[in-house]
């Protein structure tokens, strides 16, 4: 147990080492003008692949070799609250023993839970400014380890895949999408090593977010992830579309980060710490973290603002208004941090950067869309979950709901194979946020992990297709399953997984299991709150219907039917094994990662499953219904209570029904072509145009933000400067002239001569006197400094003697 932080640190730092080696070994010589031979560039990819694969092995060892034997899942029942009496006596000092008696026998009435098992500590103190301590620390719980395994495994697959995919960069490249001013295409050196250099940095940053022990460190790696995505999206920097897309991703993320900084400030100024968990100090006491401050044990682990928050709030409140007891502050902090997550995870209104990010090479899209960048936002929401008030959770749920619906509608009409997947990612992220916002902590993160597997699979498959036909446009594909069977059938698995196909209550693809718990949570939320809250059930179901529809539309258009472009079809070929291998591996995980092994399995395998794993990481104070304070009618339901039959049965059937209906619809339209897509397009003309133009979000932002900014600057430059300021100055001049005339005629000549002129003269004289001080002579300046030092010292001494000391 003790070496767990060290091992994870190694897994975390390995990609950094690989980055450093490639940077020093290849990029620096290249900067210095040396030509690095392509045969040696190949070694760079082996270094990066080796680092990440080794990182995965270490992470897997940490999970199966250290963590699970120490805290076996078999000991905990599905209802996590029954485990503590076993675990309380064990290694973890954090588990409160008193908690064991609290749980009641009835399934529904839970006392809320204590903190999960975790290890927290600081590796290094970077700096200390007053009470602000900037540390590099760790906070390791089951979620951290699960994320480590997921990120390193998927990144390994994508790294290996990229060795094949980026093969073009191993010789000089002629970029046909860039036309120079002389009409020729851009001819440049390949940049194989640079790609892997950024990839390593990217993995390092993401792992840093996962292991980070405090919000300040999270923020650092958060920005690092942002800059890496900027580098990678703009990998083909000479293409105008790529560089603007990189800029867009970076700038849109800054908008969200602004909110995040507000959240950080609100938290720090009232809690005085950034660290998540309690950290052991050298003298044996504990330095308390945010979570335990907000969820006092004496308070039964319920979320409650600290005294400082209440005082702060009271000091800002006007007389007579209802006291909010710091709830508003907590709400602002939560929503602020969620703003950052909104940017990273591409939630409505900041979702526009993600589809543009398709300009990067496909492995980048796969990494960004599954394991790293967008996962970071959802992960952070899951990590800081204890600080969210029910009202903040409602905001998250609403945003997630809007996102999943909008993105799904856009995906239906997109024809670029990668853009369909991009909007599908946005939509699935909306599902996760919705689940988290409705109180389904496990549901949201479970979907994050299953989605990471099948979405990376889908992206790599699409990359394989693009590699084969050299086009992104699905209208130029078709029938490709004869040419590239491995890609076609692994992608089919991915589509089935994302659609959520399975046999209800028995077994299914991974997406089936995770989507099921989300729908369960939504239905439970609807049952608890009633009224409009059923929208949170209807919209995700509609989203799921559209998901299966557009995914199978994609598959049919690409792989089924007749080839539409024979030239491209004839040149298509199956990808080499270095690309197909990861596809098969990821397909296996896309099928099985949602499964839970039965109780009877031996050792650590007993009851092993992502859902059970995550259940042991449930943050403090998340069991039991949570009631809103600002909105008294709001109830965030208990997640465990969502697994009862009254919820489970309608959820399971409705989820599978919409999935099958979506597939059926796609089959009717795109495979059998009973109804032609063109006629549908005509019937739903307005809707079609809205989705085809992505609900005009880009145009809207261009109109609302970009153009006004440009217009304002233009306005300031011309209208304001010329028109306003100049005219003000002119009018002042005119008024002064008038006044002067009045004064000259009416005013007292003598007074003017003797006051104004004297002042002017004295100022002039003073200026002349002071001017001689500015001699420009360096040596005289030195003398001034010395003399003034002496004078200051004497004054200070005298003042001390007579004024202060008495």
């Amino acid at each position: 147990m003790d070496n767990l932080p060290t091992l994870l640190m190694i897994a975390w730092l390995l990609p950094l080492a690989s980055f450093a080696v490639i940077c020093i070994g290849y990029s620096v010589p290249q900067l210095l003008g040396l030509r690095v031979r392509y045969s040696t560039q190949k070694i760079a990819s082996y270094i990066a692949v080796g680092a990440i694969v080794f990182g995965f092995l270490i992470s897997a060892y940490c999970l199966f070799g250290i963590w699970l034997p120490e805290h076996p899942l078999a000991a905990s029942s599905h209802h996590g609250e029954e485990q503590p009496d076993e675990l309380a006596g064990q290694a973890s000092p954090f588990r409160p023993t008193a908690f064991a008696e609290e749980h009641s026998e009835e399934g529904h009435k839970h006392a809320t839970n204590g903190p999960p098992l975790y290890q927290a500590g600081d590796w290094y103190t970077l700096a200390r400014f007053g009470s602000l301590k900037l540390t590099i620390g760790y906070y390791i719980d089951t979620l951290t380890i699960a994320m480590f395994c997921m990120v390193t495994l998927i990144a390994s697959c994508i790294h290996i895949y990229a060795v094949g995919y980026m093969h073009d960069e191993l010789h000089d490249v002629t970029d046909h999408e860039v036309t120079l001013s002389n009409g020729e295409h851009l001819h440049r050196r390949g940049r194989f090593q640079r790609f892997f250099q950024y990839f390593s940095l990217f993995s390092f940053s993401m792992l840093g977010i996962c292991i980070s022990g405090n919000l300040a460190m999270t923020f650092v790696f958060w920005e690092l992830v942002g800059i890496c995505s900027y580098f990678l999206i703009g990998f083909y920097i000479e293409r105008h579309s790529a560089s603007t897309a990189a800029n867009k991703a970076f700038i849109v993320n800054r908008v969200g980060d602004f909110g995040m900084i507000i959240g950080l400030m609100a938290l720090w100024s009232t809690l005085g710490t950034f660290s998540f968990g309690d950290v052991d100090k050298a003298d044996g006491t504990k330095e308390r973290g945010m979570f335990s401050m907000l969820h006092e044990q004496s308070n039964g682990y319920e979320l409650a603002p600290t005294q400082r928050m209440i005082d702060f709030d009271a000091s800002r409140q006007s007389e007579g208004s209802e006291p909010t007891n710091g709830q508003w502050l907590l709400f602002v902090a939560g929503v602020g941090i969620f703003c950052g997550c909104m940017g990273k995870s591409a939630q409505f209104p900041l979702h526009t950067w993600l589809p543009d990010a398709m300009e990067g090479p496909t492995p980048v899209s796969a990494l960004v869309h599954s394991a790293t960048m967008v996962a970071a936002g959802v992960f952070l929401v899951g990590r800081v979950y204890p600080i969210f008030t029910p009202e903040a959770l409602l905001v998250i749920a609403v945003i997630g709901c809007i996102t999943l619906f909008l993105a799904a509608t856009i995906a239906i009409t997109a024809v670029d194979i990668k853009r369909v997947l991009a909007y599908s990612t946005v939509s699935q992220l909306g599902f996760m946020m919705l689940a988290l916002g409705l109180g389904g902590w496990v549901a949201g993160l479970f979907h994050l992990i299953t989605h990471a597997f099948f979405k990376s699979l889908l992206f790599l498959c699409s990359g394989s297709v693009i590699h084969a036909v050299h086009s992104n446009d699905m209208r130029q594909m078709g029938g490709l399953r004869h040419k590239m069977p491995i890609t076609a059938y692994t992608m089919l698995i991915g589509c089935l997984a994302i659609a959520g196909i399975g046999i209800p209550f028995v077994l299914g693809f991974s997406g089936f299991h995770s989507k099921d718990v989300i729908v369960e949570q939504a239905i439970h939320f609807g049952q608890t709150n009633g009224g409009y809250s059923w929208l949170f059930v209807v919209v995700p179901l509609a989203g799921a219907l559209m998901t299966s529809f557009y995914m199978f539309r994609l598959w049919y258009m690409t792989f089924a039917g007749k080839p539409r472009d024979h030239h491209r079809y004839n040149h298509a070929h199956e990808s080499p094994w270095v690309m197909a291998g990861p596809l098969v591996l990821l397909a296996v995980f896309a099928i099985g990662v949602g499964w839970t092994l039965p109780m009877q399995m031996p050792g650590v395998l007993s009851r092993l499953g992502v859902e059970n794993l995550l259940d042991t990481a449930r943050p403090v104070g998340q069991l039991g219904n949570k009631h809103g304070v600002l909105l008294p009618n709001l109830v965030i339901p208990d997640e465990h209570a969502s697994h009862v039959a009254a919820v489970k049965i309608p959820a399971g059937w409705s989820a599978i029904l919409v999935a099958v209906a979506g597939i059926a619809g796609a089959t009717v339209v795109y495979l059998w072509e009973v109804i032609s897509a063109a006629s549908l397009r005509r019937y739903l003309n307005l809707l079609y145009h809205a989705t085809w133009n992505k609900w005009w979000f880009d145009e809207l932002y261009d109109f609302v933000f970009v153009r006004p900014t440009l217009a304002i600057s233009r306005f300031i430059a011309f209208a304001l400067d010329r028109g306003l300021i100049d005219s003000i100055l002119h009018s002042f001049a005119w008024i002064y002239r008038g006044l002067a005339a009045v004064v000259a005629i009416v005013g007292d000549r003598w007074l003017i001569d003797n006051s104004v002129d004297t002042v002017a003269e004295k100022t002039w004289d003073l200026g002349l006197t002071l001017r001689s001080v500015q001699t420009g002579q360096l040596r005289q300046y030195v003398m001034f400094i010395v003399v003034c030092t002496i004078a200051l010292f004497i004054v200070a001494t005298l003042w001390w003697r007579f004024a202060v000391a008495g």
Partner: protein
Amino acid sequence: MMPLFANILTEPVGVAHYLVVGAVLFVCGALCMATKRNAIGVLLGIELVLNGANLNFIAFGSRYLRDSQGTIGLDGQLMSLFVIVLAAAEAAVALAIALNFYNSFSSIDVDQADQLQG
């Protein structure tokens, strides 16, 4: 003042003694800056001033010169290390400026660098 010098050869020295030496270096440096017309001479003065300050840092950080409760410990030595490094950097930049000055005025008399006079 006398008791400090009376038995200086038979008793250990204290922080105050170092401060005196530091003061001498500092004042010499300041005077150098104030009287030399040669730009390089001014530079030499700066080096002396920095050394005077350095000596004080070392004295305050030394365990041999006063009670170890009162010393600033290793921080003093670290500070003086940083001062040494920055002095090296400063010398490089100042020399570059001096050379530039020499190139444009064919002289390194700082009295000629008075374009900024009022």
